[in-house]
């Protein structure tokens, strides 16, 4: 059992989420930096998608009632990227983040809250899964997995100060002026797990009719009438009525999940090519 002494600004339980339920309106959820979640779980010997704690902006303070093997990954902290043994009764203080915005606390055995639709993730948009952590909560730890911790890992590269995200154009890139995404964009403080809101010169539309609602994926860059795009993260609604200019490459989603308010970023556009229209 883990006792929450201080929850931090926003700490939730996240695993690999709820893919496969989008047709019923259920968001994917899951960790916003899946690479960091997988690394933390490897360090403690869990399955890559086991449930961990996702802390936002700064870390929680946790008292372990039993001895546990723990790893902190994602946003860089004093304790990052190595397995830590926390003794029974000891306190893990995740503390301040040196960069990035989301850190993961993985515990050998995983956070064993009740799964909902196959996932233990907190969905902040829909209210599925456990609520965000509060002081005084007690979290169960799951059974030890048969797999051993893997320690022979190179440390992950630091987050770039001004990242460039690869964006595959479509499905609605033809609704916008060419070069609409040139230049740098600034991350708005109103960003959250639903989406990263970007500020910059308004994106110009060349088609002005209303889009009939259609399915959207994590990483989609959705453009509302204001022209200020929203990069959808894991708790995004499953359908949307704003055209999507392009989708961030899956390998760059971990960077998107670590964007800090005020940070600048740019996009490098990739065309889906003529073959996109053929099966």
């Amino acid at each position: 059992m883990i006792e929450v002494l201080a929850a931090g600004p926003l700490t939730t339980v996240q695993d690999s989420g709820r893919p496969g339920w989008a047709h019923l309106g259920v968001p994917p959820s899951g960790s916003a930096d899946p690479q960091a979640l997988a690394l933390g779980n490897r360090l403690v010997g869990n399955d890559a998608g086991a449930a961990a704690l996702e802390a936002t902006l700064s870390g929680p303070r946790l008292r372990f009632r039993v001895t546990a093997l723990v790893a902190v990954t994602g946003a860089e902290t004093e304790a990052s990227n190595r397995p830590l043994e926390v003794g029974a009764g000891e306190v893990l203080e995740v503390g301040r983040f040196l960069n990035g915005v989301r850190a993961y606390v993985s515990v050998r055995g995983g956070i064993d809250v009740e799964p909902v639709l196959g996932s233990r993730s907190t969905d902040l948009l829909s209210g599925l899964g456990p609520p965000q952590l509060r002081e005084g909560d007690v979290l169960p730890i799951g059974r030890e997995p048969p797999t051993a911790p893997q320690l022979d890992l190179a440390p992950p590269p630091p987050f770039p100060a001004e990242p460039t995200l690869r964006l595959l154009l479509g499905p609605r890139d033809d609704w916008f002026a060419p070069n609409a995404l040139a230049g740098t964009w600034r991350v708005s403080p109103s960003s959250n797990r639903v989406g990263v809101r970007l500020e910059g010169p308004p994106i110009e539309r060349i088609r002005h009719e209303e889009l009939l609602s259609e399915g959207v994926v994590t990483g989609a860059l959705q453009v509302p009438p204001s022209g200020q795009p929203i990069l959808l993260l894991n708790d995004h609604p499953t359908t949307g009525g704003y055209p999507v200019l392009g989708v961030v490459h899956a390998d760059d989603l971990p960077l998107a999940g670590q964007l800090r308010p005020g940070q600048r970023l740019s996009f490098v556009l990739r065309h889906s090519g003529a073959s996109a229209g053929t099966p």
Binding site: S213, V216, G277
Partner: protein
């Protein structure tokens, strides 16, 4: 004719003629192995896959040509009280009496076009054209669960308390979404719906 639009490395949006075609293709693809999500929209289907891109056009065309795959959804009756805070406003906008708004809303048979916005939130098509109203200028921060609402061509029911901008004309106690049920959403794409007096 199916138009294919790219939606990331592992997804496409199939653009179809109308909602009936979208529902049909979505149902045809639903149990295809290797796919992650098959999400109908108003007249599109978003398809995402795990590793290998499947032969989607062939599968979609087969679904469109296959009468067996035609949307024969469940028939669901939803008991409603027409007591919504926007009922008078909808009556004013449509130049009908509140009683006529309710009567026309109950007379239509709806088809679940697609879901979205929230778990279990169904966009119902096929309503009375006369009841077509715009969304509210000022969305509400809190719409109660079970609110029956109108916006554009759609009717909908809010499954849980949430923000919302649709015109609220009534309420139901029917549970639209329950994650512990075998099929968590009461309404699925292609189902037929009728509103009846509570």
């Amino acid at each position: 004719m199916i138009e294919v639009r790219r939606a990331g490395e592992h997804g496409v949006v199939l653009e179809l003629q109308d909602n009936a075609a979208a529902v049909r293709v979505a149902r045809g693809l639903a149990s295809e192995p290797g796919l992650v999500d098959v999400v109908p929209g108003h007249r599109t289907v978003l398809v995402t896959w795990e590793d290998e891109r499947p032969e989607l056009i062939k599968l979609a065309e087969a679904a469109l040509g296959d009468d067996e795959a035609a949307p024969i959804g469940a028939f669901v009756e939803i008991p409603v009280r027409y007591d919504g805070p926007d009922l008078d406003e909808v009556a004013r906008l449509t130049a009908l009496s509140p009683e006529e708004v309710a009567a026309r809303h109950m007379r239509a048979e709806y088809i679940v076009g697609f879901l979205g916005f929230a778990p279990g939130f169904a966009y119902l098509l096929g309503g009375d054209e006369r009841l077509r109203v715009e969304r509210r200028v000022e969305p509400r921060e809190r719409v109660p669960a079970g609110s029956v609402a109108l916006a554009g061509p759609y009717s909908g029911i809010y499954p849980r308390e949430s923000p919302g901008g649709w015109q609220l004309i009534g309420s139901t106690t029917t549970v639209l979404f329950d994650a512990t049920r075998d099929s968590p959403a009461l309404l699925s794409p292609g189902d037929r719906v009728r509103f009846v007096p509570a």
